[in-house]
């Protein structure tokens, strides 16, 4: 028995070394390629639908009856918010797990495949009623609007598929820890652990919500508790947002320093940021309900604090990133107070895209802090400002980081190389995307402040003067949207070119090392059980009081409505 264990241990060590030298195994590569392909097809489709909306909001395009604005918007949200983000995150982190943990365990790979097909199946189920105009309920599907039950069953499969991947990741990390006692989880896998912990715990509330909706949508139960459903949704909805953000942050801390030829920021502080983001995230969801009835002002005030607290680790990140840039640039001979920036590789898309993504997070994060604050939220809630905000955070900070990752991750898993031409194309794409997003998101912020609502097809409100005065701003949505569509086409071309046609060769998985004189990271950072307990305590503090109040003092429930 002992020899067998020792032998299997040796095989594992051998596999880990082989993995580092020879690159990712074909089976692990196929998994990530499949996930990335779905992600970029989703952005192609979702981008086209986005352009349709931009043109409609600008008053330039009336959508046909068989594909109305709200169908398009529901599909756009689902494709980009759920499909793109989930498939990219899982594809990227599974490649990271494979690279840093010495390959995926066969059973974990199988779980990821089962998860893949469950999500695809769930997505197809959800899309059919959307196309049939039986589920124009937006990606938030607030009851008592009721979609076809098939839509919700589709969502269940998507969640189950995500859980498969989360548990797969936990099993792989646990197995590595057992084989490497006393060692720290490699940093990228540490981020992956945090992301999958959040994916699992964050999607629990929405799973509960959907399980209460299904019998109601079928008509087996007459009414539903609207506020409970809404609250459970946002416990998930905002966590999801932060999951992609944490994914992007992992690349900022771990990948980008390597690409610019530098070293990582303090390992301990990096891990503290991950732990803090994991613990504090789920509680942030409540700021979506700041102007809801039925929640008292003291509870809302506590939630403002819980939401703003998430800003702190992000501000730690802001410092860390610029410190790494400066340190690296100075080592290369950069001089002056800010003159060192010339030494950064601006012509390298793998740096340029995530750099602009980070820079975009400065106004995006500031806007986030401002709009989470009680009274200021009241000014912008459900206006176009919010749409501008999440196109800045997700469309720029997160998605541009994903784009930057794709220029090395796709060649890495395809055993090909990034050519200078595609790098140049990537730089052009980054510039087009930046201009498009700045124009669109800027106009959205502004017109939102003036009062233009989100999730509303083009309307002059019976030629109301105020509504008509928004039109010039809304026109920029069409200009920005068109540029973004060009950006999507270039990006999708680059991804599939790198996957199937680029010259063969070896591409490195760029994981930066810590500084040579770095102090060892304390062991306590590895206590994931404790972090999860802390997270659950915070979630309890945030949600027990309002949820119990909504349930115990519930008004009579609402029957299902189909209002479209």
């Amino acid at each position: 028995m002992e020899t067998i264990i020792r032998n299997s241990g040796k095989t594992q060590v051998f596999r880990e070394k082989a993995n580092k030298v020879m690159g990712i195994s074909l089976e692990d590569a196929r998994l990530t390629k499949s996930y990335l392909s779905v992600a970029f097809l989703a952005i192609l489709l979702g981008g086209m639908l986005g352009l349709l909306q931009g043109l409609n909001r600008a008053g330039m395009l009336e959508l046909p009856v068989w594909l109305n604005y709200y169908q398009v918007l529901t599909a756009h949200g689902l494709l980009l918010v759920v499909v793109l983000s989930a498939f990219f995150t899982i594809g990227y982190f599974y490649a990271g797990l494979s690279h840093t943990l010495g390959g995926l365990l066969p059973k974990v790979r199988k779980m990821a495949w089962i998860g893949f097909w469950m999500k695809i199946f769930g997505f197809v189920l959800a899309v059919i009623p959307i196309l049939m105009n039986e589920a124009s309920v937006m990606y938030t599907f607030y009851p008592p609007m009721a979609a076809s039950p098939i839509f919700y069953i589709g969502l269940v499969f998507i969640v189950l598929g995500v859980w498969m991947c989360a548990f797969g990741a936990f099993i792989n990390v646990a197995s590595w820890r057992k084989r490497n006692p006393g060692q720290h989880i490699p940093i990228l896998s540490f981020f992956a652990t945090g992301v999958f912990v959040l994916l699992f715990f964050g999607s629990l509330p929405v799973a509960i919500e959907v399980f209460t909706i299904i019998p109601w949508a079928f008509g087996w139960v007459e009414t539903i508790n609207v506020m409970v459903a809404r609250t459970l949704f946002w416990a998930f909805g905002h966590t999801l947002v932060n999951i992609w953000y944490l994914t992007a942050v992992s690349a900022w801390y771990v990948i980008v320093p390597k690409i610019i030829g530098g070293r990582r920021w303090s390992d301990l502080l990096t891990r503290i940021v991950v732990i803090a983001l994991v613990m504090m995230n789920i509680t942030g969801g409540f700021h979506h309900q700041i102007i809801d009835p039925g929640i008292s002002e003291p509870v809302k005030y506590m939630h403002v604090f819980m939401s703003l607290a998430i800003g702190f680790p992000s501000l730690m990140t802001a410092y860390a990133m610029f410190a790494v840039f400066e340190r690296t640039a100075r080592k290369k001979g950069g001089r002056g107070l800010v003159g060192w920036y010339k030494k950064l590789p601006w012509g390298d898309v793998r740096f340029l895209a995530p750099f602009i993504a980070m820079a975009a997070f400065i106004p995006a994060g500031a806007g986030g802090i401002v709009q989470s604050t009680n009274q200021l939220n009241q000014v912008v809630h459900n206006t176009m400002w919010i749409v501008g905000h999440f196109h800045l955070t997700l469309g720029m900070s997160v998605v541009m980081t994903f784009f930057g990752i794709s220029y090395w991750l796709v060649p890495y898993v395809s055993k090909r190389v990034l050519t200078p031409q595609i790098n140049k194309l990537g730089v052009i794409q980054t510039i087009i995307w930046t201009i498009g997003m700045v124009i669109m998101s800027g106009a959205m912020h502004w017109v939102g402040l003036l009062g233009s609502p989100r999730r509303t097809s083009y309307s002059t409100y019976f030629d109301n003067a105020t509504a008509l005065s928004w039109d010039p701003y809304l026109f920029f949505l069409a200009i920005g949207g068109t540029l973004l569509m060009i950006g999507v086409l270039i990006q999708v071309y680059a991804v599939f070119y790198l996957m199937f046609f680029a010259p063969k060769g070896n591409t490195e998985f760029p994981v930066a090392e810590v500084e040579e004189d770095a102090a060892p990271t304390p062991r306590w950072t590895e206590r994931w059980g404790l972090w999860i307990v802390c997270m659950l305590v915070l979630v309890g503090m945030a949600y027990v009081i309002p949820l119990v109040d909504f349930i115990v003092n519930a008004p009579p429930g609402s029957p299902p409505y189909k209002t479209w």
Binding site: N68, Y69, Y70, Y142, P144, M145, M227, S266, L269, Q289, I290, I291, D292, P293, G294, I295, S296, E297, K300, Y301, V304, F305, L308, A309, G311, F312, M316, Y319, A323, T373, N374, Q375, Q378, V379, H381, N382, T383, L450, G451, P453, R454, R455, T456, S457, Y458, S459, Y461, N464, A465, T466, A467, N553, A554, P555, G557, S558, P559, Y561, T563, W564
Partner: protein
């Protein structure tokens, strides 16, 4: 372990968040500028039979002070086309007869979610004369983009 400049940066960051909280707290609890948070419940299927929504409308309750009892339903506001004199303070009492709606008045800070089963309250002083656009800012169905009315301040 930490650089001095990082300590300064993080202290400022922490101070900024606390600053936001102090100002928000002061405005919410001392100046009563908190977000609309009314807690009263109502049977969403019996709105028409429940006071005060059995008689939606506008009522003067004091000098320059009005109460508007309003129901929101797909895709309209009842009552619609409200008129008040300039300088009036208007207290809105709102509920939904069907799905979730939003009550937003452009060029003011009036913005509240109106959820079936709950009574929502929000107050605004209208100083400047003009026609204010009232619109639903929560997607509520096929005619959501038509759900609007006006408040005229004379």
């Amino acid at each position: 372990m930490m650089h001095r400049s990082e300590k300064i940066w993080l202290t400022l960051s922490f101070g900024m968040i606390i600053g936001f909280m102090l100002i928000t707290g002061y405005q919410t609890f001392a100046l009563e500028m908190g977000p609309p948070s009314h807690g009263e419940r109502i049977d969403p299927q019996k709105v028409d039979e429940t006071a005060p929504f059995d008689q939606p409308g506008i009522k003067q309750i004091g000098e320059n002070e009005y109460e508007v009892v309003m129901t929101l339903q797909v895709f309209s506001f009842t009552p619609s086309e409200i008129e008040v004199p300039a300088g009036s303070t208007v207290h809105f009492t709102l509920t939904s007869k069907d799905v979730v709606h939003g009550f937003q008045v452009a060029d003011t800070n009036l913005n509240a979610m109106v959820v079936p089963g709950y009574v929502q309250k929000i107050t605004q002083k209208f100083d400047k004369p003009g026609e204010y656009l009232v619109l639903c800012n929560e997607y509520c169905g096929a005619g959501h983009q038509m759900m609007s009315t006006t408040i005229t301040v004379k």
